[in-house]
Symmetry: C2
Amino acid sequence: MPASIKDVAKEAGVSIATVSRVLNDVDVVNEETKKKVLEAIDKLGYRPNIVARSLKTQRTKTIGIIIPDISSQIYPEIVRGAEDVANIYDYNLMLCNSDLDPEKEMEYLRVLREKMVDGVLYMSTSLEPSILELINKLQIPMVLIETTSKEGNIPSVTIDNEKAAFDAAEYLIKKGNKKIGYIGTHEDAVNASALRYTGYKKALLENNLKVDDKFAYFGGLKSQDGYEGMLSILEKDTVDAVFCASDEIAMGAINALRDKGMKVPEEVDVIGFNNIYSAAIFYPKITTIAEPMYDMGSVGMRMLIKIINKQEVELKNYVLKHELIERNSCK
Amino acid sequence: MPASIKDVAKEAGVSIATVSRVLNDVDVVNEETKKKVLEAIDKLGYRPNIVARSLKTQRTKTIGIIIPDISSQIYPEIVRGAEDVANIYDYNLMLCNSDLDPEKEMEYLRVLREKMVDGVLYMSTSLEPSILELINKLQIPMVLIETTSKEGNIPSVTIDNEKAAFDAAEYLIKKGNKKIGYIGTHEDAVNASALRYTGYKKALLENNLKVDDKFAYFGGLKSQDGYEGMLSILEKDTVDAVFCASDEIAMGAINALRDKGMKVPEEVDVIGFNNIYSAAIFYPKITTIAEPMYDMGSVGMRMLIKIINKQEVELKNYVLKHELIERNSCK
DNA sequence: TTGTATGCGTTATCAG
DNA sequence: CTGATAACGCATACAA
């Protein structure tokens, strides 16, 4: 049993109130007694019990972070960014993997509330009405990362996915490519990555290129999807270039092209999305749209802490800048 | 302000004691009143306050997990394994990134104690005396992952790093390679990956191959280290094969070989370690020693929870099996 | 400047 | 079977 404030009080020969005062550096307390208390604290190796403190102050100094899956390639960096900022302000992170399962998300939201976290950083794809309703009921400070709520009434930090995809596709077009494929999320999906198809399409149209479904493959964001997607497109026609909605897709697509005896970038340009760690290690190094993962986490956390402290946030919906990184998978 | 047990009691017309009883399903309580209470709970949308409960029961149902860096390539899977098991037993995870800084590790240990976590999953490289001392003082259930304490008195889950490296090196030898390089941690380092050099050396010696320092490059575990290490070795001599203490090193080494115009595996065999996600996506796909990351996390968590519940654990120091995965970076 | 007392929301002990 | 009530460890309003 660790020492409590009571033990310290007894040891120092003062009341627990006084101990509490020096602990929190509040009110004025005589230098003499302060010293006595400090000595007692030191002697007993006393450390405050934050659970008890939390119950009293109604603040736990911990923040919940809900992500689809920490073992995927893109979330660890976001989490790291969040933790680094949290750390500065003496917050800890409670990590929750939802697997994008709305039921799990809701359960975590409830548990986080029960554990009285001061706020939640929430990453999901779609925000179903039932979840929105729960969020509303829970009354817990929250910021969305990578998503926005329909009405934009929940603070968020994202990138402009449509514009980013537009930039990527236009880059491919500027290189002189005409037949440009797409591998990624279906445009009807209600999440951020679906906007990438919209951006891709817009770039083609604005440049008087026709959008043909035979050049598009809709599936997941994994390398397997890229591999299969590339093969599927190749069965129908040849392509000059491919826009991939994720770097993993790009890697899979490049592997498929290689297996078909086609050279990247000599014969086909491939551009990815995300700029995950291995994009720069892969051969060829992948030209891609860099999403500021770390910054999304840190900016999101910073905003959340402001909200928790009831400070004004200038901008409710941050849109961070993306960047096209030229490497070796495009001519 | 959310409803408390008091509100429920008033709503149901019973005492808070009774509400608590139905909440925890303890003692016998009249079906009739139980129903009333349940209705009140439902009506008010009552959820227990776990912070208050924790203060009373002295159990928080949360577990601290200290890792070097979540944004590195190997920890996310361990964390995921840990979380999945934690989830089953209604525990949550408090994530702490230490960057292998002993000071940070100790600070986290203290804060986790203050927040009354029920246990800690601890990943570090070296356990300095000062940390051991703190651990001892804190009296908090703990299991080590990827490391062991000198005396083996702290429960742990690891793989046999020396044997794994031995297997990898012997695999290279069996392929007929004579001049086998090593890129990785220095043998004097006091952590798990240093044992890989020991295993590598042992394999060479047992097979009557001489160990020559010009074939060894000691550095970090990143791809950059692999790239530079390969170049450095190549300056002194040619090699038939290279044992890399991590997959990232292997990727860097392969890129260096490629830049030097040498083909993998036709001219040089390269074997990695860890089996990180991108090892199977890289070109060529990397032959490697697979560490059961997910299992280390889940087994560790399982063990920790047993310890927390004061159940007997049959084995204090688990050694999980590694596996050599043959892919395309070796002939 | 310091101490007493109350309550944060629970669980658990003790009577009834 | 149920209701008071005392902790759990701390912060704080109010007295002194």
